[in-house]
């Protein structure tokens, strides 16, 4: 991204005009015509209306020949006349109008501050993706507010917004956003083409678009990251991804995504890297446990009693004593019970949900063991794997993982550990065939991209993550220069 180059007014206007929310309103005073340029998602449109109305009335009674005359009628403080282009570039993102004469865009101009629109509603904390450390700003159902929230953090004209109308009946506004000079145009063009090709009646939510434009609909895995967190979208944009949101939806989808994007949480980057890496590995281990724990129980108890450690043998057999079902049915019964609990609890208000948890978790579990319908060791395994299926920060991924448990349990019941091995093979082949916006889903592990592995299983320190992942083919590779920072720290700090 060009940071230190000299700007001219024309270049600033040109770069801003790439976004569809940068608009120019003309005002004619008879003798001269002026232009007011601004990001409509960053200012209070109502306040602007009042201002323009006042200027219009003034123009009817009095002749306004130049910019100075016009500004005399602006009833606001803090006007800046003839700011330098650098100042213009900065202030235009803080909610200022840029005024200039149509006849001479390079000539004198002025900045008029209009009270910035407040993007925060009374409560826009994240509902689904909570975090302890870091900002809790989430998106809401209003598209303009969402774009305002993004622009408030990414103060650059290179953040480009393209609006597309989708839905033959709803005609919903869908915003496609990317950072020009970072995201590869090919990805942007691909995403735009897919969005424009959509033929659908009513768009309720971005997640519908997600399914319509996804590369492969025959998969339980989400192929685009869905998020309601601002920091997540901003992070995706600065690494070179493309973000899409539809009107009326609090969720952005970002892509191209890889499997590992679903295991990273913004908190990884807010905590010290050692802790961030540890938590990330806990998450990955949790998902593997969740996928295979119950099926291993079924396989061991049904076919491979030989490999049970002798210390565990007595406990396992005792816990299953008098259970009338085969381990498969036992596990299936419990897994489905957990799914019932989740499905019933998902739509209940949180207070009733709590009592449901008590009824389901404690009473049902206890009674099932006492009636010797299941073994209590299996209850521990199933509840642990239900718990660990929620460790992925993205809800759609935890759904996929919970669904995948069932075929694996079935295979384990039929073929034992061989069945589990077959399931792993199927899973790996399937994952390696998936594409997200045309990019392999399992990168950087398949195909192998050693340089990009540094921020996958672990989250290394900021000193080594200065580059963007190469598999996204970003226009500029460097995100920041950690060396420059280190040099300045040497001696002159005292």
């Amino acid at each position: 991204m060009p940071n230190q180059q000299a700007y001219s007014m024309a270049s600033i206007l040109d770069s801003c005009k790439r976004s569809t929310d940068f608009v120019t309103t003309p005002l004619s005073t008879g003798k001269e015509s002026f232009s007011f340029s601004y990001y409509k998602t960053l200012i209070d449109v109502e306040g602007l209306g009042h201002l323009l109305h006042a200027l219009q009335t003034a123009a009817q009674t009095e002749e306004i020949g130049d910019l100075r005359g016009l500004l005399a009628h602006v009833p606001m403080d803090g006007l800046e006349t003839d700011p330098d282009p650098e100042r213009v570039r900065e202030q235009i993102f803080k909610g200022c109008l840029l005024v200039y004469r149509d006849s001479d865009p390079e000539g004198p101009c002025a900045l008029i501050p209009v009270p910035a629109k407040k993007g925060l509603r009374s409560s826009n904390e994240t509902d689904m993706e909570f975090s302890v450390v870091g900002p809790k700003i989430g998106f809401i159902e209003d598209l303009d507010t969402n774009i305002h929230l993004l622009r408030a953090q990414l103060n650059t004209p290179d953040l480009v917004l393209k609006e597309i109308l989708v839905g033959s009946i709803s005609r919903s506004r869908v915003a496609l956003m990317y950072i020009d000079g970072v995201a590869n145009e090919e990805n942007v063009a691909k995403m735009e083409k897919r969005l424009r090709a959509i033929d659908f009646d009513v768009v309720f939510d971005t997640s519908q678009l997600d399914q319509i434009i996804s590369d492969n609909s025959r998969t339980p895995f989400p192929l685009f990251t869905t998020t309601e967190r601002r920091d997540r979208v901003v992070y995706a944009l600065i690494t070179g991804q493309v973000a899409v949101i539809s009107e009326g939806s609090p969720y952005f989808i970002t892509g191209p995504s890889t499997l590992f994007d679903f295991f990273l949480s913004p908190e990884d980057y807010f905590l010290p890297w050692i802790l961030g890496s540890f938590f990330r590995m806990i998450r990955i281990f949790g998902v593997i446990f969740s996928l295979f724990a119950s099926s291993f129980y079924v396989a061991l108890m049904t076919y491979h009693y030989e490999v049970i450690p002798k210390e565990l043998l007595g406990r396992l057999i005792y816990s299953r004593e008098n259970v009338p079902f085969a381990p498969f049915l036992e596990a299936l019964f419990l897994e489905i019970t957990v799914e019932f609990l989740r499905e019933a609890g998902a739509r209940l208000p949180s207070r009733i949900g709590q009592s449901l948890g008590i009824v389901g978790g404690i009473i049902l579990g206890q009674a099932a063991v006492e009636a010797s319908l299941t073994s209590n060791i299996l209850i521990i395994i199933v509840s642990l794997s239900a718990l660990t299926s929620f460790v992925t920060p993205i809800y759609k991924m935890s759904n996929a993982i919970r669904f995948l448990r069932f075929p694996i349990i079935l295979l384990a019941a039929v073929w034992g550990s061989l069945g589990i091995a077959i399931a792993v093979c199927f899973l790996l082949v399937h994952l390696s065939r998936l594409r997200s916006l045309g990019y392999p889903y399992t990168v950087p592990f398949f195909p192998v991209r050693v340089k990009d592995m540094k921020d996958s299983l672990i989250r290394p320190s900021y000193a080594v993550t200065g580059t963007r992942p190469s598999y996204l083919k970003p226009r500029s590779r460097i995100r920041y220069k950690p060396e420059a920072e280190r040099k300045s720290n040497d001696f002159d700090e005292e």
Partner: protein, 366 residues
């Protein structure tokens, strides 16, 4: 439309095949089988008594031990015979201990070893041992322990922390099938309190028990055949008037080194054992107050161990058994090694044992 019907057919075929293939696998649900943990073979009046310890896990904290026995004419139909007595099918994939009564072992355990080398279901963790009484009695002696693997755990902890040399099933089978060494198995005796205990090591010639190595010999066998970091030794010191002084040593590390001086016709081998030991306890009459006395004690220990080891080797030579594996050692050092000729000359083989003892003087407990 056609393509979709094909997909449906394909999925249905896959499902049916899965179910069909699933029917072929035999499931052994762990609580619906009787798990053999310890098995025993005895010989009584021409027929063979086999016995099994099966765990019954009906109590939360305790394991009930069920002892099954049956008579047979051979060593092969143990499982089917005993299966006639149980309400659950007998499975021996968890069998971790096999015990041979002395009278059985004196007639040869070859049949069982042949079964073990063929059967993949028997774990390599499975331990073998010889019992002084019948195997059945030894098992009965452990029946109040709530542990179906009491004997196995007993042997295991003794190899881990004490004087016994550990061997897994593969090593035993190697010793049996190979020509350069003889097998030896832990020897279980019943003490006066009617408890099973480790009484030594049974030495085998081919597949028959010929002698038992006891007490310090067990440790010497371990020290001569492997690097070890565990073991304890009671040294009898020369009495200087009054009572007999004792010295209890702990072996911290020991490293045997063989050197082939000449290969034959009568082989000669020099054995060096470097030991680091620590005094665990010592009779009060023995004084180690300065360096010279410690050096003197080192020499005493050295002489004691050297004599013990030489005597043990001589005993093995006299019995024509080779548990230490001198044959394998010579074979790795001379081309064209001939087992018949070697063991022909084995009783007259010359060995020279040199032990170097380093006494660590930390933490002497009185």
């Amino acid at each position: 439309m056609r393509g979709r019907r094909n997909t449906v057919r394909r999925v249905a075929a896959l499902g049916l095949l899965t179910l069909a293939a699933g029917g072929c696998g035999s499931s052994q649900i762990v609580d619906r089988i009787a798990l053999v943990q310890t098995a025993g073979y005895d010989r009584a009046e021409g027929h063979i008594v086999t016995s099994l310890q099966v765990g019954e896990y009906t109590d939360k904290d305790k394991t009930k031990i069920k002892l099954l026995e049956s008579d047979s004419t051979n060593s092969f139909d143990m499982m089917p015979q005993l299966n006639l007595e149980t309400n659950k099918p007998i499975e021996y994939g968890q069998m971790k201990m096999m015990l041979f009564g002395r009278s059985y072992a004196e007639h040869g355990i070859g049949d069982v070893l042949k079964i073990l080398s063929r059967d993949v279901k028997v774990q390599s963790r499975c331990l073998l041992a010889v019992s002084e009484t019948t195997a059945l009695e030894a098992m009965r002696a452990t029946s109040n322990t709530d542990d179906t693997l009491f004997l196995m755990n007993m042997i295991w902890q003794n190899t881990k922390t004490a004087n016994l040399k550990g061997q897994n099933l593969q090593q035993i089978l190697y010793g049996y099938h190979g020509t350069g060494s003889d097998i030896f198995l832990p020897y279980i005796t019943i003490n006066k309190q009617h408890r099973a205990q480790l009484g030594g090591v049974a030495l085998f010639k081919d597949d028959r028990v010929v002698a038992v190595a006891r007490e310090a010999e067990v440790l010497y066998l371990k020290l001569l055949s492997e690097r070890s970091r565990e073991g304890s030794l009671l040294v009898k010191l020369r009495a200087s008037g009054g009572s007999q002084p004792y010295l209890l040593l702990r072996v911290l590390s020991s490293h045997p080194k063989f050197k082939l001086v000449s290969a034959g016709p009568v082989p000669s081998i020099r054995i060096r054992v470097a030991m680091t030991v620590m005094i665990k306890s010592i009779s009060e009459t023995v004084k180690i107050e300065n360096e010279a006395e410690a050096k003197r004690l080192e020499r005493v220990i050295k002489r004691y161990v050297e004599t013990g080891m030489s005597d043990f080797i001589a005993k093995c030579q006299g019995l024509r058994v080779d548990p230490i594996g001198f044959g394998d050692f010579v074979r790795t050092h001379r081309r064209g090694w001939d087992s018949v000729a070697f063991y022909e000359a084995y009783p007259s083989m010359k060995t020279e044992v040199r032990v170097s003892v380093k006494l660590l003087q930390s933490g002497i407990i009185d």
